[in-house]
């Protein structure tokens, strides 16, 4: 039961937070293994997928500019060996680096990197092997760079026969099309004259080289900043393109590439279906001019691409051995469906009946129905139904009021104000559950009068008032439900939330009136209810903490600190109200301390909190450091203050 309520709060908070995207959209990483079980001696792939935040990119193994490509740090058990990170086909991205136009080699949107894991023959069949590590990358937009990191761990079992994870098959098929293709039937030759490198590519029959063509240098010998021109077919039918040697670009801190004996890179072209890429290593004869007849020698050996080498016929599928992929990137987001959340709202309503101010009434109410109806079970049932109806109608009225309020004010409530309000509401709810203060004690007597009416109308109003009368407890609950409803966009869903909450409250009454004999089975009201209430308070404070995390992100540290003090002041205010604002206190004390001072503090705190419910003040325009930033920035002729710092 506690768990359920806890989830109910977490759910409502998540929904609220989900509505207001906190901060900027972040780049996320995902790790996908190809196999769940591997045969000793076999190999399988692991894919690392980056979903870049808008305007952000990561780098190819040759970034083209100053930048670091992604890398994987492995923690592998004995018997497993990881190959090198295979980079998918990059794009030549136009951007700004340190205020200068630049072309970089990298990725935006979604990009999947692949690593092949080889299992040795010594793996013990039946044993489980845990693969752990961290996937790190640098990502930049035109102004700043970030370092991203994603820890992963998953398990693979050694078995007689390897087991691909069926659900990931398509994914790997698509991912492998972006990787360099098998280039064993290709050849290439390079010649250089005055900084211009002519690359001659001999391709197998049946292949058509279509535009756009691009040669991504991987040894930095080709100038990444020079535009590449379309190539032509020579008389032998080979594709020839001219490239610029990389002499260095000072403004971007790009060094000249070391002159090598061959030109290495990724040749990308359109094969009529899509973009394809081949890894090329073209011998560069040092004697500059080379004849065309030296085929055997000049044709280089090609780095064989990683073709899909999964054994054919291994279509076994075993759901029970799906490996556990730990993904802190939040893959659980979509799991809470609308219906499961409604179920929790229902539980919330049900639990409300256990609160000390409601629970004792529950049995009495039913007894009241029984007393009024005598032994006529049919009448008892009608009383129960009418009671439930009264409750539902109250909820609907409440829903209508709140929804119309939202229509009028909702858009004007800025994000931090809304979230701050939620924190304060939950904070007060927690204090209230601790018994620090109560409110609305007068309403109980008002309710008493109306409820004393006889007949079905009596039952109806009794239903109407059950929630309202019990405000000391139900108020905070309603707050949570309102938060949840407000966070829903669709108006009919908002309505449904209230309806279900009402049904949750009404259900014990209805059930008990259907089966009056069950009343005897109810636990007696007693001290356990107080304990229950106070335990609940901790769950509520957990919710407060959860909200605060998001709030801190929005308003920044300075405003958040003030907010915390404001919260203390509000707490003190309601404490004074609870302590001195009761009718048992002497009148002056009650008025001065219980109302006056308490009110001053509470509203002062609220005003204080409100005044800081906004995004952080604009401070100095700090630029985020990235490797090479000094080299790029210094030639610009500005004084630079570089501050290496840490929050510890």
């Amino acid at each position: 039961m506690h768990r359920a309520l806890f989830f109910f709060f977490i759910l409502s908070t998540q929904t609220v937070l989900g509505q207001f995207s906190l901060g900027e959209k972040e780049t996320t990483a995902k790790v996908t293994p190809e196999y769940s079980a591997v045969e000793p001696g076999d190999s399988f792939k692991v894919a690392f997928t980056l979903n870049h935040a808008e305007h952000f990119h990561s780098y190819f193994k040759n970034a083209g500019v100053v930048g670091s490509p992604p890398s994987v740090t492995w923690e592998l058990p004995d018997g497993l060996r990881a190959g090198k990170l295979l980079f998918p086909q990059p794009a030549a991205i136009r951007t700004m680096v340190g205020g200068v136009d630049a072309t970089l080699y990298g990725y935006d949107g979604e990009a999947t990197f692949v690593v092949k894991i080889e299992a040795s023959e010594d793996l013990k069949v039946g044993s489980e092997y845990e693969i752990k590590g961290s996937f790190d990358w640098q990502e930049c937009d035109d102004k700043s760079c970030l370092m991203g990191s994603h820890d992963f761990s998953f398990k693979v079992i050694a078995r007689e026969e390897s087991l691909p994870i069926k659900a990931n098959e398509n994914f790997f098929e698509v991912a492998s099309t972006a990787l360099p293709q098998d280039g064993s039937a290709w050849g290439a030759l390079a010649t250089e004259k005055e900084g211009k490198i002519s690359l001659e590519i001999i391709f197998p029959e049946g292949i058509e080289i279509g535009e756009p063509v691009y040669f991504f240098s991987t040894d930095q010998q080709i100038d990444s900043q020079a535009p590449q021109e379309e190539g032509t077919l020579n008389k032998e039918g080979h594709y020839v393109m001219t490239l610029q040697r990389n002499q260095g670009t000072k403004g971007l801190a790009i060094d000249a590439g070391e002159v090598g004996e061959s030109i290495k890179g990724l040749f990308t072209f359109s094969d009529g279906f899509g973009s394809s890429s081949i890894e090329i290593s073209a011998l560069l004869p040092s004697g500059a001019t080379s004849g065309s007849g030296t085929t055997g020698e000049a044709l280089s050996a090609f780095v064989p691409a990683t073709a899909a080498d999964r054994k054919a016929g291994l279509e076994v599928y075993d759901v029970n051995v799906l490996p556990e992929v730990v993904d802190p990137g939040g893959s659980k987001e979509k799991e809470v469906t609308f219906f499961s959340s409604l179920w929790l709202v229902f539980l919330g309503g049900l639990i409300l009946n256990l609160m000390p101010c409601v629970f004792p009434v529950l049995g009495l109410k039913i007894m009241g129905f029984v007393a009024q109806a005598g032994e006529d079970e049919k009448k008892i049932k009608i009383h129960g139904m009418v009671f439930g109806l009264g409750l539902l109608i109250t909820m609907w009225i409440l829903a209508a009021v709140i929804i119309s309020l939202k229509l009028n004010w909702g858009e004007q409530l800025s994000e931090p104000v809304f979230l701050g309000t939620m924190i304060i509401v939950f904070f007060l709810m927690g204090l209230n559950l601790f018994g620090l203060f109560e409110f609305g004690s007068k309403m109980t007597s008002v309710g008493g009068e109306l409820q004393s009416k006889k007949g079905y109308s009596g039952s109806f109003f009794s239903g109407v008032l059950t929630t309202l009368v019990a405000t000391p407890c139900s108020g905070p609950f309603l707050g949570a439900v309102m938060a949840f409803a407000l966070s829903q966009e669709n108006r009919s869903i908002q309505f449904a939330v209230f309806t279900v909450f009402g049904l949750g409250i009404a259900s014990p009454y209805v059930i008990l009136s259907l089966f009056p004999a069950l009343i005897k089975k109810l636990p007696r009201p007693g001290a356990w209810m107080e304990t229950f209430k106070q335990v609940m308070a901790f769950f509520v404070f957990a919710t407060v903490v959860f909200f605060m995390k998001g709030y801190l992100k929005i308003v920044g540290e300075d405003h958040f600190n003030i907010f915390l003090f404001a919260l203390c002041l509000i707490g003190l205010g309601v404490y004074l109200y609870g302590r001195y604002g009761t009718p048992t206190m002497a009148k002056t004390k009650r008025l001065v301390t219980g109302y006056g001072l308490a009110g001053l503090m509470t509203f002062g705190g609220l005003a204080w909190a409100y005044s800081t419910a906004k995004p952080p003040k604009q401070g100095l325009a700090w630029h985020e450091w990235y490797p090479g930033i000094m080299e790029i920035s210094r030639p610009k002729g500005r004084i630079i203050w570089l501050d290496y710092t840490a929050d510890w």
Binding site: L620, G637, I639, T645, A646, W648
Partner: protein
């Protein structure tokens, strides 16, 4: 340091480019970078004159607004 009015005014006047390398998360790239200024531990503050060839000023571990102002003046002089 960066709430001192004089410093703020000076930074603005000299159009200083501010770069922050936050190593709270202990990034290898940052840890590998600052030792070139002859330091082994954070914090490290470096003020580079506008002339790319002028030597940089490495601030002491602990310094006040006065030292910072002096260093900025020096950097401005070296820039001319």
């Amino acid at each position: 340091m960066f709430s001192n009015k004089e410093i703020l005014a000076k930074l603005k006047e000299l159009n200083v480019l501010l770069i922050k390398a936050d190593n709270t998360k202990r990034l290898q790239t940052i840890s590998d970078d600052f030792p070139r200024y002859g330091r082994v531990a954070l914090p490290v503050n470096v003020i580079a004159p506008a002339d790319p060839n002028a030597p940089v000023i490495v601030m002491p571990e602990v310094f006040g607004p006065e030292e910072a102002l002096k260093a900025l003046e020096e950097a401005a002089k070296a820039s001319r």
